[in-house]
């Protein structure tokens, strides 16, 4: 009677009928390629000559791939952390608003958008020209409001021997040394009388101690006026930065008044060259060069965070809603501050979810490809390069070395192995 296990159900053979298509696809498209790639990675570009681990050695010795690895490290250190922390903050804060669903939907929406489209979207955001890129438009507007720094693009000294100042490396510098007591005159041209019509009339610096002078536009509408002298209709340039230079050192700096005059009260003796730095003559602010070599990786990580923060928020919010309210309420009634509740109760209880989000992001970041490929302009791509992109580039995008490509693919696989183990352990624990 006591059969060890009364089993109702089909024979094991039936299982293989159901499994066959999946097993076939997984074996041919995933398992076989792993084996093939290992063998391909120890051969050269042609695939004929065995080169041992030379391709792997090249990954760690070639300066170009070292940049890729450096970038991947930046990605792995920064992106998962920022995404998880932002997700946590948003998840906690949305608990306190009525329109939480709408907020979540807005943040979550980029997940539906292809990374290519996200890339195009952020290429637009990061456009250098403040009249095209919204990021620089905001930055230059804010800077303009707070600094009051006036830019006079186009303003320049006359180019003749009689002119008291000349252009030197973008800056305007007086030709002669100037001394306190004798107000300096720095006439500029290059702005039309119409453009400066609204400015205050130029005036010579008032007499007194200290190095002083005037910077103004030395042209009159319809011509006339004396070259090099301040005529009544001529306008001063306000807010121009002036530096007093002795030898190679800047001794003092100041800004012109509305009438174009300036004074260094502290410089009562000595003789100096006056320099108007180039920043006076660029548009008031050009914003940030997001897509240049220096900022390209942070800029792309910004786009990545835009895509993934909603994902983290939704997962963490689900974990949050599973936390027993009683525990939080009890702590609040005991007089704990919101911050203490958050630090001592919410975060520890959420730690399993936070870990899952964090690990998911690391795995995802290791494979980041599309955003870098799309956002980084061609000329900057070597500076923004990551392993997954380099793998494609070297194998298909003109690199022509599939031995190296295979080594990079295996390298990527090795990087995700710890997370493979993490997933398996998590599954085993959940099943128990």
């Amino acid at each position: 009677m006591a059969a060890p296990r009364a089993r109702l159900g089909p024979s094991p053979a039936m299982a293989w009928v159901f499994l066959a298509p999946a097993v076939l696809l997984l074996a041919a498209w995933m398992v076989y390629p792993i084996v093939y790639s290992i063998s391909r990675s120890v051969h050269d570009a042609s695939g004929n000559a065995f080169v041992g681990l030379a391709n792997y050695g090249a990954i760690f010795s070639d300066p170009a791939t070292l940049v890729t690895i450096r970038n991947n490290i930046i990605w792995v250190v920064v992106a998962p952390l920022v995404v998880t922390v932002l997700g946590l903050i948003f998840a906690v804060l949305t608990e306190r608003i009525r329109w939480a669903t709408a907020f979540k939907l807005v943040l979550f929406m980029p997940m539906a958008v292809s990374l290519l489209a996200a890339g195009v979207i952020f290429r637009l955001v990061y456009e250098q020209d403040p009249d095209k890129g919204v990021a620089n438009a905001i930055i230059t507007t804010v800077q303009g409001v707070f600094s009051g720094d006036q830019g006079y693009p186009g303003a320049r000294p006359r180019e003749n021997d009689a002119a008291p100042a000349a252009l030197r490396e973008g800056a305007v510098v007086t030709k002669q040394q100037v001394q306190p007591g004798t107000p300096a005159l720095i006439p500029l041209v290059g702005l039309s009388p119409d453009a400066v019509a609204g400015f205050t009339a130029a005036r010579p610096a008032a007499a007194g101690p200290g190095l002083s002078g005037t910077i103004w536009i030395d042209t009159v509408r319809g011509g006339g006026g004396t070259v090099g002298a301040i005529d009544p209709q001529e306008r001063g340039l306000a807010g121009v930065t002036v530096e007093a230079v002795e030898g190679d050192t800047v001794r003092a700096a100041t800004r012109t008044e509305a009438d174009g005059s300036f004074r260094f009260d502290e410089l009562t003796s000595g003789s100096y060259l006056l320099r108007l730095p180039q920043s006076n003559f660029t548009a008031s602010s050009t914003g940030v060069t997001w897509l240049g070599p220096a900022l390209i990786t942070p800029a792309i990580i910004g786009a990545y965070v835009w895509v993934w923060a909603g994902f983290a928020m939704v997962l963490i919010a689900a974990g949050l809603s599973a936390i027993p309210r009683d525990a939080l309420e009890a702590a609040r009634i005991d007089g704990a501050t919101e911050w203490q509740v958050f630090r001592k109760i919410t975060v520890p209880l959420l730690s399993p979810v936070l870990l899952v989000v964090f690990v998911t992001m690391i795995i995802n970041v290791l494979k980041v490809f599309d955003l870098v490929f799309i956002i980084a302009p061609g000329s900057v791509q070597p500076d923004a390069n990551v392993v997954a992109l380099e793998m494609w580039r070297v194998s298909f995008g003109g690199g022509g070395n599939q031995g190296m490509g295979s080594a990079l693919a295996i390298f990527l696989l090795l990087l995700v192995l710890p997370f493979m183990a993490f997933n398996i352990r998590r599954f085993r624990r959940d099943e128990r």
Partner: protein, 287 residues
């Protein structure tokens, strides 16, 4: 009673005051998240000359700039064929994954066979395998079989790489179906494929919807696989647009409407099925 009010009173007050700041802060965050996509939409609806001379935000001062000209030009340039390629790749790749994964998940959940647990652990291990590992070997394989460049090759690649997640998700869902339901059918002598098709599959609709929307979005939004395996006549929208990126500055009148067209269907699906999307996310993170 009065004690409770005493406790709650100040907290409420702080909540109300802090609440205003919080509302404003979160509204700003939401705007921050919306503006980039809005920018793409507006740029796609402005004439090239306008885009070159002023920022898209000037639209709010001069709404007359709006025009469908870019979309008209884009469709006239043959972009619609890449749209259909995207559909022809995405729909079969989604349906095949659902069918094949459901069968395998059924075996894992409800048929006992030797090595079942070990094989399932292999599936979990494959969850994180990067597609890069298969690009070169499968290119060789497709070359040998003669499907390199074809839509079929792209579809099969997406099906294979979609399977681990799909099997994982569906197996976990199937395992939660009450044993009695299956055993009753088995007692009646129903064949296994019929139990699968008439009992389990219909019950699993929510899980299948989650899987379906995920797979659809992955395939629809893929660039890398198409870049390697689809030749020009079979290329989906992502690859067609990528080929325009080199001239980003001058091609924005093609790129902006193209990118927007490529994201409108996923967006509609996403809003329609977001419940399933979130469920799938909760069930299957870790990939």
């Amino acid at each position: 009673m009065s004690d409770a009010t005493f406790q709650r009173g100040p907290a409420r007050l702080i909540d109300r005051f802090g609440g205003g700041v919080l509302q404003v802060l979160l509204i700003l965050v939401a705007i921050f998240w919306l503006v980039p996509t809005l920018g793409l939409l507006v740029v796609s609806l402005r004439a090239e000359a306008d885009n070159n001379s002023s920022g898209w935000w000037t639209l709010f001062a001069k709404p007359a700039q709006l025009t469908l000209e870019n979309y008209g030009n884009l469709l006239a340039s043959g972009f619609s064929s890449s749209f259909w390629n995207t559909v022809l790749i995405t729909v079969p790749a989604t349906l095949l994954v659902i069918g094949i994964a459901a069968m395998a998940a059924y075996a894992f959940a409800w048929i006992e066979f030797p090595g079942r647990d070990a094989l399932f652990l292999v599936v979990i291990a494959l969850l994180v395998v990067p597609v890069q590992i298969a690009l070169i070997p499968i290119a060789k394989l497709y070359g040998a079989v003669g499907i390199f460049g074809s839509i079929a090759g792209v579809v099969l690649f997406h099906v294979a790489f979609g399977l681990p997640f799909a099997i994982f998700l569906l197996r976990n869902f199937f395992a939660g179906i009450p044993r009695e339901l299956l055993e009753a059918s088995r007692m009646d002598g129903a064949p296994e494929w019929r139990i699968f098709a008439t009992v389990v599959f219909p019950l699993a609709k929510p899980a299948i919807a989650s899987l379906g929307i995920f797979q659809f979005l992955w395939v629809w939004n893929d660039l890398l696989v198409a870049l390697v395996y689809a030749d020009t006549e079979n290329q989906p929208m992502t690859k067609a647009l990528q080929s325009q990126m080199r001239q980003f500055g001058t091609n924005i009148d093609i790129l902006a409407p193209g990118a927007f067209l490529s994201l409108i269907i996923p967006l509609v699906l996403f809003f329609a099925f977001q419940r399933y999307f979130v469920q799938g996310l909760l069930a299957g993170s870790g990939k």
